[in-house]
């Protein structure tokens, strides 16, 4: 008797239940996507091959998935840490571009001892990402400017800066294309000998572990939640409200900057006009699905990496259009998001 049922918000959804809900959402999304793809002309048996076997069960596919997940983990964390203090960082891409620019500057300039090249690229890209978000942060804290608007617009400014460089000073002298020259060997993350996977993996793992520890096991996470949920009460109780916001928002920018660095130093080895596109939406989706919990960010980022990998395989081998790929990815994500509803509410029926 469904018409006599109530929606009741669950107090604390259990782990098993949430797991089932998400798995169900994923399965549903995949099924719908499969139907769409078959409709678009992909043979049904090839779907299993490409979607499941190629992305998860072959060594190449897995390597590509993990490689794709590296920047996704970083932008997901970037979005998540800002979300914890209710700062809506819609400028993840802008900070990522700035990080990529900083890394490229060191990457193509040469000079300095080779051993210090990658570490200095890491530091500078993080610093530039943080600097780029510092502008909206100051505007918000001093003048109450909405960060939704300012971070978003600064993202476009960052992209224009990249274009300015690529069509100007940094244009590849060899080809004349609007891409930079390739990085020196010392400015690239070394290959790990497994697909395209590179040593940036270690950097991402260390960073993710640090963020996880900071948010889950130090005061920082406690402050962040208090500030995010009720800043007035946090302030009245003597918590460092402004300090917490500043710290986590700068961290958010720094993580985005690092993501830019891992892309140019890890896979592209040069700066071009497309390294940063699409990461904003991925970042928000990952952080939202993971409910801003660092450990879950890593899990969701890997899943999303797999979806991207499968998409590019389908595109290359079956001539599926880009629009179709985006549709499929959107279908999967929205099903998972809807699954969250079922883990949050229960149906209560006559006893």
């Amino acid at each position: 008797m469904l018409d006599a049922a109530f929606l009741v918000r669950r107090q604390a959804p259990g782990l098993v239940l949430s797991g089932f809900c998400y798995a169900g959402g994923l399965a549903f999304g995949l099924a719908v996507s499969a139907a769409l793809l078959v409709q678009a002309g992909v043979p049904a048996d090839a779907l299993v091959d490409e979607f499941l076997i190629a992305t998860f069960l072959t060594s190449d596919g897995l390597a590509q998935t993990v490689t794709a997940a590296l920047p996704l983990v970083l932008v997901g964390l970037a979005s998540a840490v800002a979300m914890r203090v209710r700062f809506w960082n819609i400028g993840v891409e802008g900070q990522l571009w700035l990080g990529a620019v900083a890394a490229t500057w060191l990457g193509i300039a040469g000079g300095g001892p080779d051993g210090l090249r990658l570490p200095s690229m890491l530091l500078l890209s993080a610093a530039m990402g943080a600097a780029w978000i510092a502008v909206p942060l100051v505007l918000k804290l001093r003048f109450g400017v909405s960060e939704v608007i300012s971070t978003l617009l600064l993202g476009s400014v960052a992209f224009l800066l990249v274009q300015h460089l690529l069509f100007g000073a940094w244009r590849d002298p060899a080809t004349g294309f609007p891409v930079t020259a390739a990085f020196a060997q010392a400015a690239r993350f070394g290959a790990l000998g497994w697909g395209q996977l590179h040593a940036g993996l270690y950097a991402v793992l260390v960073v993710a572990a640090l963020v996880w520890f900071a948010l889950e096991h130090t005061r920082i996470g406690f402050y962040a939640d208090a500030v995010g949920l009720n800043a007035r009460a946090a302030r009245a109780n003597g918590l460092p409200v402004t300090g917490t916001i500043v710290g986590l928002v700068l961290l958010s920018g720094a993580l985005s900057g690092l993501a830019g660095m891992t892309i140019v130093a890890g896979t592209e080895h040069r700066l071009n006009q497309s390294v940063g596109s699409g990461y904003l939406f991925s970042a928000i989706v990952i952080a939202y699905l993971a409910r801003a919990r660092p450990l879950w960010v890593v899990v969701v980022a890997v899943m999303l990496g797999a979806v991207f990998t499968a998409g590019s395989v389908l595109k290359v081998f079956y001539g599926i259009s880009e629009g179709m790929i985006v549709l499929v990815q959107g279908t999967v994500l929205i099903s998972i998001l809807m699954a969250q509803f079922f883990s949050t509410y229960s149906l209560s029926r006559p006893g």
Binding site: A5, F6, Q11, L229, R232
Partner: protein, 517 residues
């Protein structure tokens, strides 16, 4: 979910033959396996004002939420005007004739009153435009004698005006049974009187009114019958108010007789808090403060009486440094803290019980353990800067829950789910810690039942007898008079006068409250 009753009105009605306005019986409801109601019942006749009283967490709000379709009961039967019903939503209950005005209002702040009414009327009935809604509101307001301006934006309304808008909205939706959940807790004395006389008029016109309250005076003065709840059960069903006395009600509510302790038996010592010339300019929704000054001594309670909205909120906000006054100095134990942050003032021993617990006191969504630790985590109480010992935090919370007898609490439970009195105990448990030297308590027993009120007052008494100083700001004159050594009266952002308790007379207070002295 409630099963419709097989036969309407199984129990005796007040006048035979006429169906009851509302009849609930055998209602059970659990939240996460904890029973909030078990076998609760309630019978309401047309034309009466029926009080529901009971201690915090007794299940009063829950029972009425079930009747109003907000929650689904696990078991029980319900009839409205003799018709079996199991409302699945507030809309359905209102359509059947029962409307509830909640403790926290449910209007859209950025809409006008008329737009709000239109929003809840939806596409039913004849009212389809804002103009029609305005006309309907004006007509209804006139009919029942309740002033409501349909064109005003809700955000600009005072609490009392919002409440009136809610009432008119619910009545316009077709409610003939009006349920008011602690309506007077947020009103000044004058406003409360006006509301209660309105409620009487409404009953006189044949409506039925349920009044959830903690104030015996309201029961005695304005209600026909009273139902008392305790631990999720109805312990006294619909007794005529005329035949009851306060002591008996209190005993039935809490199961024991209460002692009314007097003011703290301590003599004032050194000055602990000294405020002078505190001046704050008025904001769009805020009263300004005009050169407020007072000294508060150890072992002393300074009561500040006054009608709400005369600068009490702003004073507290300045004292805890959430607002910056334009002028004035503040000394804590002789040290100038005029420019100090909330944190520094806390370190200097200042503790606060704000009037709205979930505004600057507690975080609704936090676990109880988190709220109990809110001010001490940053002082290193649960591990150094690098590590936060959540296990230790939970253990400390369990101890505090025991010590303060916080009902319905576990360290991991969300604070917002506690009943009002128990949430207040969480606040007390945190604020009355060992470092406290000055306590600012603003309406500390607002919305609390008699027992919880006694608890709060004796906690303040003990703290003051132990050498603390207390600034007691309250709109409840009785509370101020029974606890304070000195009484000041606040009016329009200024202290209108201050006297020792022995020299306080009702005439003096009355004159200052009214603003001429």
């Amino acid at each position: 979910m409630m099963r419709p009753a097989g036969a309407p009105g199984g129990r005796e009605a007040t006048s035979p033959g006429v169906p009851l306005a509302l009849d609930l019986s055998g209602v059970g409801k659990s939240f996460d396996g904890r029973p909030a109601l078990s076998d609760a019942s309630f019978a309401l006749a047309w034309g009466e004002v029926h009080a529901i009283v009971g201690e915090n967490g007794a299940g009063k709000s829950t029972l009425m939420n079930v009747a109003a379709g907000v929650y689904a009961a696990d078991e029980g039967v319900q009839t409205i005007d003799g018709e079996p019903i199991s409302p699945r939503s507030p809309m359905e209950a209102t359509a059947a004739g029962l409307g509830m005005v909640h403790q926290h209002f449910r209007l859209v702040d950025s809409f006008t009153v008329a737009e709000n009414v239109l929003l809840s009327l939806g596409r039913r009935g004849a009212v389809r435009t804002v103009a029609q809604a305005s006309a309907a509101i004006a007509a209804k307001a006139k009919e029942i004698g309740l002033p409501v301006d349909p064109a005003r934006i809700v955000a600009d309304l005072s609490t009392a005006e919002r409440q009136r808008a809610e009432i008119v909205r619910v009545l316009l939706l077709g409610a003939r049974i009006l349920v008011l959940d602690e309506p007077t807790a947020v009103l000044t004395e004058e406003e409360a009187k006006a509301l209660l006389s309105f409620v009487r008029r409404l009953a006189g016109q044949g409506h039925a009114v349920v009044l959830i309250t903690h104030k015996f005076r309201e029961v005695a003065g304005f209600c026909d019958r009273v139902t008392i709840m305790r631990h999720g059960r109805t312990v006294l069903a619909g007794a005529a108010v005329a035949e009851l006395d306060e002591g008996e009600v209190a005993r039935l509510m809490v199961g024991e007789t209460l002692t009314t302790g007097g003011r703290p038996a301590s003599t004032p010592g050194d000055v602990r808090l000294s405020v002078s010339d505190l001046t704050l300019s008025a904001g769009p929704h805020a009263q300004g403060l005009a050169s407020i000054g007072f000294d508060l001594r150890a072992g002393e309670v300074l009561g500040i009486a006054g009608v709400g909205g005369n600068g009490q909120e702003e004073l507290v906000s300045c004292l805890i440094s959430l607002s910056r006054p334009q002028q004035g100095t503040m000394l804590l134990a002789g040290r100038d803290v005029s420019a100090a942050s909330p944190r520094e003032r806390r370190r200097a021993g200042l503790r606060v019980i704000p009037s709205d617990r979930f505004d600057s006191g507690l975080i609704r969504e936090f676990a109880i353990a988190g709220n109990l630790a809110l001010s001490t985590v940053s002082e290193g109480a649960f591990g150094g800067p690098l590590f936060l010992d959540r296990a230790r935090m939970r253990k400390a919370a369990a101890t505090a829950i025991d010590a303060f007898d916080i009902r319905g609490a576990t360290p991991a439970r969300q604070t917002g789910l506690l009943s009002g009195g128990n949430a207040q105990k969480v606040l007390l448990a945190r604020e009355l810690d060992t470092g406290m030297t000055v306590l600012v308590a603003h309406s500390p027993s607002r919305g609390l039942d008699m027992k919880a009120t006694q608890f709060v007052r004796s906690a303040i008494r003990r703290a003051v007898e132990g050498g603390a100083a207390c600034l007691l700001i309250s709109e409840d004159l009785q509370e101020v008079l029974s606890l304070s050594h000195r009484v000041a009266v606040m009016n329009r952002g200024a202290i209108a006068g201050c006297r020792g308790i022995d020299e306080v007379t009702p005439e003096w207070i009355g004159a200052l409250l009214a603003g001429h002295a």
